[in-house]
């Protein structure tokens, strides 16, 4: 059994995909004196139940870079250390059934050219060709990313953990951090299993626990878990094995073929915040699931049967509901927190953890070692938020919207609907009532 050291340069807390990735990159880039502490087992928080989709195109250059790199990294590491991450790249197909969505997909396909992501615009016949079991009745068109696909979340995490160990990282499981110790406004160490480890840096890769860990030490980390739902069907004999991942945004659905079964997941318009009674994630929540909520899932299941009619004859093997953390704007939280020097976060993955895990770990390592980041990544910087964003009242209501925003329309100038009126101007009511014209005659 390895001895936990008395001191080290970096403690990464959390053995999910982002923690393992951060630890790997820190060591790879030269900070070998890095340890990773996992409260229970690697992946036991949320990573284990991820659907494992990997897609390269994101809403900005910086995000696309992170996702592209993630996929490249998994491919490279699979070869380097001969360990499978379960990558299966049959491509991904996104369809549009409304005019606005079709415009959005075409804009994405256009932007993709800036980042060398291969995106093909497909008409209905072409969609039918690569996804023969689809009901194309209401489809206006689609885009196809041949290089995308899926990975095994546990495989990816173990691959990264193995790679991290090879670079010199020490990983300790069953090592819950009891306390984060600070001194003169900066990180000083952690207490784990009664023992103090002194360190210079801490990375919170603590997923859905991050908000409450931060709260306990006066650090604002705005995320909150919402219930994510998917079902897995019984095996279907005639289910094609090489079909791409299907995203039917307008129906809030994704469908993933996996070992002869179909996984049907949803990012629905109004989600359910998890741990509703306590507003806290239990410390010992491992491999945790929630009871079935068929009523909530049913309309989406129906939509999926309409989209892929052959699923009607399949029984449901597994109904899954589990927590995943969401942020106020469905974007990840990275960077150093303003409240405590040398405390970095790498959390709030908004259900894109496997697709971005490799890249967010790399960015976090670079950010720590350089002291800043030379990329346009403000969209992921935790400092885009203020204190109130992590207060339970705000974030719990907001995640009911932001989970669905993943598949909702990303309209230009879109404004949030939930958790509004946080800060009101003294003349708010006057503005609300006033038209543009403050005088009676129309000027032209």
């Amino acid at each position: 059994m390895k001895e936990i050291p008395d001191n080290c340069k970096v403690v990464v807390i959390g053995g999910g995909v982002s923690g393992c990735s951060t630890a790997y990159h820190l060591a790879k880039f030269g900070w070998k004196d890095t340890i990773l502490l996992e409260r229970d087992q690697l992946t036991s928080g949320t990573t284990w139940h991820a659907a494992g989709l990997v897609s390269q195109l994101g809403p900005s250059a910086g995000i696309t870079k992170i996702r592209k790199y993630s996929l490249e990294l998994y491919k490279r590491l699979e070869k380097e250390i001969d360990f499978s991450s379960g990558l299966k790249l049959n491509g991904a197909l996104s369809i549009a059934t409304t005019k606005g969505r079709w415009q959005e997909l075409l804009r994405q396909a256009t932007t993709a050219q800036l980042y060398d992501v291969n995106v093909e615009v497909l008409n209905i016949n072409q969609i039918k060709n690569i996804y023969p079991i689809i009901n194309d009745q209401d489809i206006l068109g689609g885009i196809y990313m041949p290089g995308d696909g899926q990975a095994d979340p546990i495989g990816v995490t173990n691959l990264l953990a193995k790679a991290a160990r090879n670079e010199g990282v020490k990983i300790f499981q069953n090592s819950p951090v009891q306390k984060i110790i600070s001194k003169n406004g900066r990180v000083n160490g952690v207490k784990v299993n009664g023992k103090i480890i002194e360190c210079e840096y801490i990375v919170l890769a603590t997923g859905m626990w991050s908000r409450q860990i931060g709260e306990d030490m006066g650090v604002s980390i705005p995320l909150y878990p919402a219930e994510h739902f998917y079902v897995i069907t019984e095996p279907l004999n005639d289910l094609p094995k090489n079909i791409p991942v299907l995203r039917d945004f307008d129906d809030s659905l994704y469908l993933k073929e996996d070992a002869g079964k179909m996984l049907i997941g949803i990012f629905e318009g109004k989600s359910i915040p998890a741990f509703n009674k306590t507003n806290r994630v239990p410390e010992d929540f491992s491999y945790g699931e929630f009871p079935e909520n068929f009523e909530h899932f049913e309309p989406y299941l129906e939509a999926s049967l309409k989209r892929v009619p052959m699923l009607k004859k399949a029984g449901i093997r597994k109904f899954f509901s589990g927590p995943e953390s969401f942020t106020p704007d469905t974007n990840t939280l990275l960077g150093e927190v303003p409240e405590l020097k040398n405390l970095f976060v790498c959390c709030g993955l908004n259900s894109i953890g496997i697709g971005s895990g490799g890249g967010v770990g790399k960015v976090t390592a670079e950010w720590m070692m350089r002291g800043h980041i030379n990329e346009d990544l403000f969209i992921y910087d935790i400092k885009r938020f203020q204190k109130f964003h992590s207060e339970v009242n705000f974030i719990k209501e907001r995640v009911t919207e932001t989970l669905g925003d993943l598949y909702g329309m990303h309209w230009p100038y879109k404004q949030p609907k939930t958790s509004r009126n946080q800060k009101i101007l003294p003349y708010h009511e006057e503005l609300k009532k006033s038209g543009c014209m403050l005088w009676s005659i129309r000027w032209i």
Binding site: G100, Q113, F378, L425, C436, M437
Partner: protein, 380 residues
């Protein structure tokens, strides 16, 4: 009737104001925007009369202490003016020369400066500033202590002169300066500046007096064809004026030479400001990318709706991408900012085939040699 609100830095802030009994609600679209008639009116009225812009969410940090000026000189790339009331536009860099913040610094009193920055980057900017400040400086985030109302347009001086006895003449209250004034007994910090490129004043007032000041302005405004203006009008007009926005047009990924902001770098101040060493290394090199302003040929509002991350083409080759887009009703131009990477100068590009691609359609564009709006408002 009424304001359509959006969220900015946590504040509810008017995005546009409904006209002609329209509902102040967004009808989202990737083409024509239902608020276009409103902002057409707001922007036109601002350049013809005067507009009232809500600017309270802009972040405001007060720095006090004997060494404040020296420390600001180290943080900022511009030569900060250390005379009472003077305002300096500047960037702050990281050690690699990447742009971390885009701000104004104003000298409010001896050893007392205020930094004013965008609403959305409040915590980010604060973090960057505090990282480099010594303990001798007293730093305070006063964002929520003050409201700020902007009065912009050719009639702004006449309007404010009717509600205040202070001197607002061009000889006394010059562009880029500021001072305490009194409006109907309310103490107001007035800055003669404008993010919308018009004659005008930013009026900073303590929260407790803000509503009263607002009412005084609105009442008197009726005599000057004052209109309410929202965020969209401001964003359009800042683009007409050639002003950049951190987070869209500039970020740590760009340096000031690429962004056309070299005018905000002072080597002559002889201070080793943060990022100077990195800048000196790239100063005389040809930059691989550079900032450009483009406009779509023969375009109507929302055809196409320009945003950001759209590819820019020279003939069939992608040479860059857009960073901001807006339709200017004042100049009837569908305007875009962006960066291109080509060996050619603007003059050389004039007779070339340039395009912006949106939604898989290519639109022919002109290169704009200078901002649509000139800077003469500064002299008036």
């Amino acid at each position: 009737m009424g304001a359509c609100f959006g969220v900015s830095g946590g504040y509810e802030r008017p995005m546009w104001f409904a006209i002609n009994k329209e509902k102040p609600e967004y009808e989202y679209s990737y083409d024509y925007q239902n608020w276009f008639p409103s902002v057409e009116f707001e922007t036109k009225n601002t350049i013809n009369n005067v507009g009232l812009f809500e600017m309270s969410p802009f972040s405001k940090f007060d720095l006090k202490g004997e060494e404040t000026f020296q420390e600001l000189q180290r943080l900022c790339t511009a030569n900060i003016k250390n005379t009472l009331g003077s305002i300096t536009y500047t960037q702050m860099l990281n050690n690699d020369g990447g742009i971390e913040a885009d701000l104004s610094v104003v000298c409010i009193d001896k050893n007392h400066f205020r930094i004013i920055g965008p609403a959305a980057t409040r915590e980010h900017d604060k973090f960057h500033i505090k990282k480099y400040l010594s303990k001798n400086i007293i730093f305070k985030d006063v964002t929520e202590d003050y409201c700020c109302l902007g009065l912009f347009g050719p009639k702004s001086r006449d309007l404010i002169s009717r509600i205040s006895n202070d001197n607002y003449s061009k000889e006394i209250f010059k562009f880029g300066t500021s001072k305490y004034v009194e409006i109907n007994g309310i103490k107001v910090w007035a800055q003669r500046l404008s993010y919308v490129g018009e004659l005008g004043f930013e009026l900073y007032v303590e929260i407790k007096n803000a509503k009263k000041l607002y009412q005084i302005i609105v009442n008197e405004g009726k005599n000057f064809h004052l209109s309410h203006c929202g965020m969209h009008a401001m964003d359009i007009m800042r683009m007409e004026s050639g002003f950049l926005h951190w987070g869209h047009d500039i970020s740590p990924e760009e340096n000031q030479y690429e962004a056309g902001l070299a005018f905000a770098i002072s080597y002559k101040k002889n201070v080793d400001f943060i990022g100077k060493e990195a800048l000196l290394k790239i100063k005389d090199k040809k930059q691989s990318k550079r900032f450009v302003m483009l406009s779509i040929k023969n375009s109507n509002p929302g055809q196409p709706l320009l945003q950001h991350f759209e590819p820019i083409y020279l003939d069939n080759k992608i040479i860059g991408n857009t960073t901001s887009g807006n339709y200017s009703f004042n100049y009837k131009k569908n305007l875009s900012y962006g960066y291109i990477n080509t060996g050619l100068s603007n003059e050389e590009l004039l007779d070339k085939n340039l395009f912006i691609e949106v939604g898989k359609k290519k639109f022919s564009v002109n290169i704009e040699m200078k901002p649509l709006k000139d800077k003469s408002f500064r002299l008036n």
